[in-house]
Amino acid sequence: MLLNIKNLHASINGKEILKGVNLEVNKGEVHAIMGPNGTGKSTLASVIAGREVFDITEGEVLYKGKNLLDLPVEARASEGIFLGFQYPVEIPGVSMTNFMRTAVNEQRKYHGLDPLPSGEFLRMMEEKKQMVEITAKLNNRSVNEGFSGGEKKKNEIFQMAMLNPTLSILDETDSGLDIDALRIVANGVNKLRGPENATVVITHYQRLLDYIVPDFVHVLYEGRIVKSGGKELALELESKGYEWIKDSL
């Protein structure tokens, strides 16, 4: 099992957001997490990635069989956890090239590898850019600065492609994308899909799941996963709305 979350409770400033989450993800699987606004989807993603503002009050998270909660954020990243941010952050003055070079090389260092030679790195940038069909001159632009909403989301998938993660958590990567961009992003994710890695997509729209077909769909509601099923659950949610979940609790 790649990721095993057991009875996870997390709070911020004394307010409990996650109230006992259970989730199992195996290699090769795609999971979708849906749920109303403010129920804790992004919180769950942040806690897995290791964001320090949240306090873990109960439960455990195993990743590759080891206690994930012991690892600092950057070690989790180097161990293959990637978070596609719902709101990608701008870093003024830091070029995408410099940012990605630092990220790639620090991850290599973590694994005892030498830095990637400059030429090889730039070739990789070009190759991955094509994968997500980024045509704009990205390299010299500052990280996410002045990017449109859709460009920021594409940029997340581009970084995912560069870092080649084992577990990708994509938090509403589909929000704000036009139809073409949605297809491109989904294609990118599908190309990166393999038997050795897994993807968790957080989304509000069943539409994305037409492109990225999930093995499992979970409904996160008030800090708990209250319903799980196959991809048909997403369709059911779409037609019946969350009232249906509430009523069935």
Binding site: P72, E74, G93, F99
Partner: protein, 482 residues
Amino acid sequence: MEKEKNHILKEVTNSEYKWGFVTDIEMDTATVGLTEDTVRFISAKKNEPEFLLEYRLKAYKKWLEMEQPQWAHLKIPIINYQDIIYYAAPKKKKELSSLDEVDPALLETFKKLGISLDEQKKLSGVAVDAVIDSVSVKTTFTETLSKQGIIFCSFSDAVQNHPDLVKQYMGSVVPYGDNYFAALNSAVFSDGSFCYIPKGVRCPVELSTYFRINAANTGQFERTLIIADEGAYVSYMEGCTAPQRDENQLHAAIVEIVAMKDAEVKYSTVQNWYPGDKNGLGGIFNFVTKRGICKGSNSKISWTQVETGSAITWKYPSCILLGDHSVGEFYSVAITNNHQQADTGSKMIHLGKNTKSTIISKGISAGFSNNSYRGLVKIAKNATNSRNYSQCDSLLMGDKCGAHTWPYIKAENSSSIIEHEATTSKISEDQLFYCQQRGISTESAIGLIVNGYAKEVLNKLPMEFAVEAQKLLSISLEGSVG
């Protein structure tokens, strides 16, 4: 997690100055303290013409009447000016004609500093006038430059070989009575650099000096004079690292720049004097007066500085925009960490018509440090249609440091435009998390973010300096997350 963060913070803000070492060289020193005799001793040692001795003595008398300024946002320990040795020179056995004759210990120092006086520098196109303690040991490139009529030599050599130029321009931008530290420097200055670019000549190389304080208890009083004649251009770089010392060392330099009609001078500094230890013990007191005058029309002076060192920095590189259409620029990154204090900024004095000035200041404070921007933009009545744009940004790391901005504006006509923008920010938790989530360590993340923040200024540095400066920024701030 919070505990661990504090731990990292402590561990790295504790990082010791990485260029601390001491060279053992025989010194030829003045006795401790400052009297008229000291001034005469220095002048005699340097075999100076009468006018210079008179200048020094006038400055000394003026200095006696003055008091150390208190207006800066600095806590300055009491400096006992009678405890300082005002002149120290490496003992010369004889006139040096080649590198082989230079004291091997000195050469070793240069090596540690990464300065090579040999062919390598020639190949990289940098002429170096190296100042160790107070006397220039070796000047390279002088010959190549002199073919174009460029004079680039130690201040002492200029006094001997070009006394008329020295007499004409020294003190013309920073008069000896300008301020307490300028008066002190004018009385006891030891050596420094001199540069004259004749009419219409573009200096083909970046001129650079490396300064270094090396003798315990020895004050350093450098003096630099740069003159760009009509239509001339020069880019000048000054950089320094200093060895670790427990005693506080006083550094009061003067830099004067004169730009004639259509001339341009770029002056870049990377300042990395010993900042003191993590508890605020030791470190250099850096009281510098830097000023340029755009004397002719269409002339331009740019100051670019990266300030990471010194326990105390008191420094306001300024421009007097006398010529019509002249341009003054000031680009600064000032970092303070641990117990460092910096009060720095610029003065732009607009006197000519259609003059333009730009001030971009990026302050970064960490640890227990204090970092202040102090600036004056003055547009005189006759300086019609002039413009100034100032941008002063402060970045705070942690909650024990301080950042302050004191912009003074005096506009005496209504056709001019002054714009001022100021921001204060912290390295956001969001930015750090974003970097870390990509596998980037906290240290590197801070390095990235800070270099990004300072990019506008770093971009103004000559290539050789930019790389060094970027490293310095990261090193100076390692781990200071709040």
